[in-house]
């Protein structure tokens, strides 16, 4: 991990499913809402979906205080790109690229970029606000679900 707070955030993960199945899970509206927990995802280029950290509002489909994500690229079968921003602030970008690594295994590579558009203090506070919502609502739910399952 980089010490530079404005550097890209990168994560890789390998899994036991072939590329075409991974693409469907990554981008199909039924699946995206399950692994990503977003609202109004249509799977259409140019459409906007929303990340709502407050579970009460998410349950009601309310996007107040949500992060906006515009679908920028849906290049089947391996490249999904969307923006990630709070209205009125610069747009960061999330790219997820898939790679067939053989034996019906797939590698997913995530890059979250665009932090150099912000003065360092803005980034910190932007994320602090988001983190407060996500930390208190999303992560405990994920943990509970994982442990129950």
């Amino acid at each position: 991990m980089s010490n530079n707070p404005l550097a890209d955030i990168t994560h890789d993960i390998f899994f036991d499913a072939p590329l075409d199945h991974a693409w469907k899970t990554l981008t199909d509206p039924d699946h995206v809402s399950q692994w990503f927990g977003c609202l109004q995802y249509t799977g259409k280029l140019g459409d906007v979906f929303y990340m709502q950290p407050n579970p009460e509002l998410r349950g009601k489909g309310d996007i107040a205080g949500a992060t906006y994500c515009e679908i920028l690229k849906l290049d089947a079968p391996d490249h999904f790109v969307f923006s990630w921003y709070v209205p009125g602030t610069p747009k960061t970008e999330v790219s997820i690229r898939l790679q067939d690594v053989g034996e019906k295994r797939t590698k997913a590579m995530l890059v979250h970029s665009g932090w150099d558009q912000f003065p360092a203090e803005d980034v910190r506070h932007f994320w602090e606000q988001l983190a407060n919502g996500w930390k208190s609502h999303v992560l405990p739910n994920l943990k509970a679900a994982a442990e129950a399952g």
Binding site: F15, G65, P119, E121
Partner: protein
């Protein structure tokens, strides 16, 4: 949603407040010097500073006649750590769902 969380977004969105934050990155500044930079009233600048303080973006110290504002700096590291956890969790959910649905076929 708590009002404070919303207002931090508003704080970043406003051009004058963004500019004040940039100025304060160069070091603390008394209110009168910040006011000199803008073609708006001291009252308006004070209002912006009050909002920045309320959002926790800045702090101020009164030193005699001077009212000095500075950035409320905390480690950026924490934010990076949080984001790393967030994306790790999301990708782990993606992996689990892809593997489960593939095995069910």
């Amino acid at each position: 949603m708590i009002a404070g969380k919303q207002s931090a977004y508003e704080a970043i969105a406003h051009p004058v407040r963004r500019d004040i934050l940039k100025t304060l990155q160069n070091g603390p500044s008394p209110v009168h010097r910040l006011t000199e930079q803008y073609s708006i009233s001291q009252q308006a600048v004070s209002k912006h500073l009050r909002i920045l303080n309320q959002c926790g973006l800045t702090r101020n110290d009164r030193r005699g006649q001077e009212n000095i504002y500075y950035l409320n700096a905390a480690p950026l590291r924490e934010v990076r750590d949080w984001l790393d956890d967030f994306w790790t969790d999301k990708l782990t959910s993606f992996k689990s769902l892809a593997e489960e649905t593939y095995n069910e076929q």
